[in-house]
Symmetry: C2
Subunit: 222 residues, 2 copies
Amino acid sequence: MSERRADLLHDKIEDLILTGDLAPGDRLDEVSLATRFGVSRTPIREALMQLAATGLIELRPRRGAVVAEVGPKRMVEMFEVMAELEAICARLAARRATPADEERIGAHHRACAAAAAASDEDAYYYENEEFHEAIDAAAHQEFLSEQTRALRRRLKPYRRLQLRSRGRVRNSFDEHEAVVRAILAHDADAAAEAMRAHIVVQGERFTDLLASLEAPRAARAR
Amino acid sequence: MSERRADLLHDKIEDLILTGDLAPGDRLDEVSLATRFGVSRTPIREALMQLAATGLIELRPRRGAVVAEVGPKRMVEMFEVMAELEAICARLAARRATPADEERIGAHHRACAAAAAASDEDAYYYENEEFHEAIDAAAHQEFLSEQTRALRRRLKPYRRLQLRSRGRVRNSFDEHEAVVRAILAHDADAAAEAMRAHIVVQGERFTDLLASLEAPRAARAR
DNA sequence: GTCAACGAAATTGTATACAAGGATTTGTCT
DNA sequence: AGACAAATCCTTGTATACAATTTCGTTGAC
């Protein structure tokens, strides 16, 4: 779980994509990136391959790398898998959470409450992450946590944009409430179901998602 | 899903590990690998990074790569996640399988039957893979299929060794039978449960797994 | 005899040079 | 004028050279 700090190049390029500086479909020229970051092509190539492994970019042999195009279909699929993974985490957490785990979950839940009350979306966004990670940890399943965190990281930018939609923070918090109650009651099925409902993309959330898919490229000069 | 064929170096090194030629904990020296495969260090490094991304090896900054040590705890966790992923596939397959999907699943199931009847473990191993992939495909969830295939690939060597244990092929086939019936009956819950039971490590299967963890390194000269 | 410190060798990380394969542009022919 | 073909340029893939860090061995002192 160390995610070696040394590899800041990986994160820098990732940021370029996550912030929308590089839009889906854009080519990632090795020499441009190399000159931009003041290094040679070698470390750039290594960073690109790592990013390709996570699915953020696509490597076409002899034809360079492009930012992965994520269509609505695939995006919904990713959220669907995410919902299942987090539901399993919640189920296990309901069964295996220690008092210390429960305390941590509760603390982050209260922090979410504060952020929601203050309508501080950025704070809520941050505490929301912590809340979900606390539940991951309470599941006491290292491998599952790693997979979940990896996918959560992959979906990060879309989640952030989703929270911007009207009333989403309030709804999100209410859903958290249901999850917390189920976990504290050690009701595994209820916890899983509440978490799945919290993550899954359905109804009006789908249109929010579509908007978030268009937003980054609309924000760019074309 | 192309898994570019050009990258045979990746597969070659992977084979070295999967066949037990390189045991968990062994260091992967870049120059040794380079001379062994008759290439320079550059492509070796790239292959190593890809392998690190899949979790097969571990990259310690400035200290080289080692074959990932997979303890019993982590192994059980991986099978646990695998069971959940495959269960979701089965659930979706029960709901969304087309007649063509059902035919494919049936065909591979019958091929498994033939292999089991002939006590041909290698043939069963192969057809078992095909059977599971057919169910993946029937789920019609591309992203889920990718994740499932990736993890299945990661667990491949352990599965193979598991099948070697006595009576496992017969049991495996009976479990397949239950999965197929549930899918054909479009009973999503039953399909998920049957699949989960098929994959999950429990009871005597756990001891088989422990044996499979020791087998590769015992086979080596130490 | 053991431990520590210094040094040398080996190994990883980075840069640069070279080779090979696409993509683009230009020129010619219809 | 449009389309096809060929040649050039640009980009990726690979090799090699160099720098930096770690590790192992040796030597010395306690």
